[in-house]
Symmetry: C2
Subunit: 330 residues, 2 copies
């Protein structure tokens, strides 16, 4: 996808998005745990976006985008492709704006995510991750029905919306008299970490931003380390459904390449342990893809000794059977 | 236990307690759920004290009490009896004040609660719920070791500390432009609901306060309805370990009798369903005793149609096996 400098969000776009989502999105709290701090030897805040409306951060960007559509566009509706969290965020934002959404979802999407779309009145079109290209299906529906495509990450307003999360966490930490010096954030398409990083770097240029990804889906980490755009070799094979995009975006990378300090890759077992830890000590429900940042810290891969860090828990939409696997590890 | 009017907390004591716990206790957020509101036909906020330090509201009262002890008293330490949440609250407050705690716990207390006490450096003395009287064991240790007893509910500072939760939820709702007109809160000894009710009634005399209790342990509901002090016939037999005291206190009742609008009694099955709902739609981890208020609302026993209500989720310290039982009901 080509883009010019006008497509790249600035901090002012995040501030504008924050005004727009105020009172509609949840200002999720900044949590901490005495057990966590003792275990890792640092001060670690967590930003639990599982508590966000629709159970993930995706609502922020979707609402920031959809609330800017004109009356005629809202009437024709929107279309999006998503493994499930963007799906719910788009469906909810569309409903709240008096519009409606059609969502292209993989046929192996967690049941909870499909039901979430239905709750908000969204229509679901399933596709096969291995044989079909979701972007093509979405483009066809957009053409046929005049729907506006709401992309999951390659859009200025989406990135700015997700960035409101970064602005919040920096401000909330300051409210506690603390300055976050290291953020660990999951990365799939890279929209969340691009927005969070933009907010963080704008508020404190010294704050480090690190990407957390599943092993074998660590295209951002590898791109950062090699300087070459890396595409994941696999399309399936991780429990972290929310963050296993084929590769990160070009627009998001234009921000991430200058904001990142590096990346971490975590295993499914480390992710399940982090979900169990969050259940036990933070009392929040985190889905596999939402737990990769915490997993990076708990596994010791992300060193936070003596640091004031923040782990973004990006979502909590998980099926009971998967959650039971985490509970077995408590 | 005898008490005079000086023992009864006033709203000023809650405001004083709020100053004292500020920055030490968590200001837990006020959450809501679109699914919940749609299901019950009202606007329901939840106050998730599972996100509180030590995983339950008990830290508020314990810290408010222990932080008022003199240097010599802190040095001699404190003693408390508790099924587990007060235990952890007292242990943490003692540790943070440079003191130490001995806790009398039933030998069937959830493992997570015993481990929580140990994390904070507390010593545990186990007793048998059926054959031993915990108050006597605590009194003996207090005498022998010069420790200060920190009672679970029959104390002005404990009640005022728990009341900070009520003050917060009323203020937070106003921050959202809403006035809470009905609070549903669990009741064991009655300290939490006494403090919450005192705060709520002081801030809005029209706000109703309703007690939620497990079936067969609904001494407060029955005392309210009959006008006679009711003692539960059973000492065991509910999954709601946190709220199955033999009966509520006299000091707490002096407040509750004038603040309550009534009570609800919920079954173990309704409690497990509420835990499952909180897991799925609120993304927070609630223990059985912490879920009785939400269970009252979800079961339809507490009518919140057209109301602006608040359910207090009092804690989240639960063992994985019990939580797995709730997950099976999702």
């Amino acid at each position: 996808m080509a883009f010019d400098q006008n497509d790249v969000p600035a901090f002012a776009d995040i501030e504008d998005a924050a005004d727009r989502v105020k009172g509609v999105a949840v200002e999720t709290p900044l949590l901490r745990s005495d057990v966590l701090d003792e275990r890792v030897g640092g001060r670690v805040f967590v930003k639990p976006e599982c508590l966000q409306r629709t159970g993930s951060f995706k609502f922020r960007g979707a609402y920031n985008r959809i609330s800017r559509l004109g009356e005629a566009e809202l009437k024709r509706g929107v279309v999006a492709y998503s493994s499930g969290n963007h799906a719910q965020g788009v469906s909810a934002a569309a409903r709240l704006m008096g519009s409606n959404a059609t969502i292209i979802m993989p046929n192996d999407a967690p049941k909870a995510k499909v039901e979430g779309v239905h709750f908000w009145g969204g229509s679901v079109v399933f596709y096969d991750r291995a044989t079909e290209i979701r972007e093509e299906i979405a483009a066809r529906i957009a053409d046929d029905e005049g729907r506006t495509l709401v992309p999951p990450f390659e859009n200025k307003y989406i990135i700015a919306g997700q960035g409101t999360l970064g602005r919040e966490l920096m401000s909330q930490a300051r409210g506690f008299g603390q300055e976050i010096d290291k953020i660990v954030c999951c990365a799939g398409g890279g929209g969340l970490i691009a927005g969070v990083g933009l907010a963080a770097k704008s508020m404190n240029s010294e704050t480090e931003v690190w990407a957390a990804e599943p092993v074998d889906f660590d295209d951002m980490k590898l791109t950062f380390e090699t300087g070459e755009h890396v595409v994941n070799k696999k399309l399936t094979g991780s429990i972290c459904d929310a963050v296993i995009t084929p590769t990160h975006g070009k627009l998001t990378w234009s921000l991430n390449k200058r904001q990142l300090s590096g990346g971490y890759a975590v295993t499914d077992e480390e992710v399940l342990d982090a979900m169990a830890f969050a259940w036990r000590h933070l009392k929040v429900v985190v889905e596999p893809g939402g737990a990769v940042a915490l997993a990076s810290i708990l596994s010791g891969k992300a060193d936070v000794k003596g640091r004031t860090a923040c782990a973004v828990l990006s979502g909590g939409n998980v099926d009971p059977a998967m959650f039971a696997r985490a509970l077995e590890r408590v």
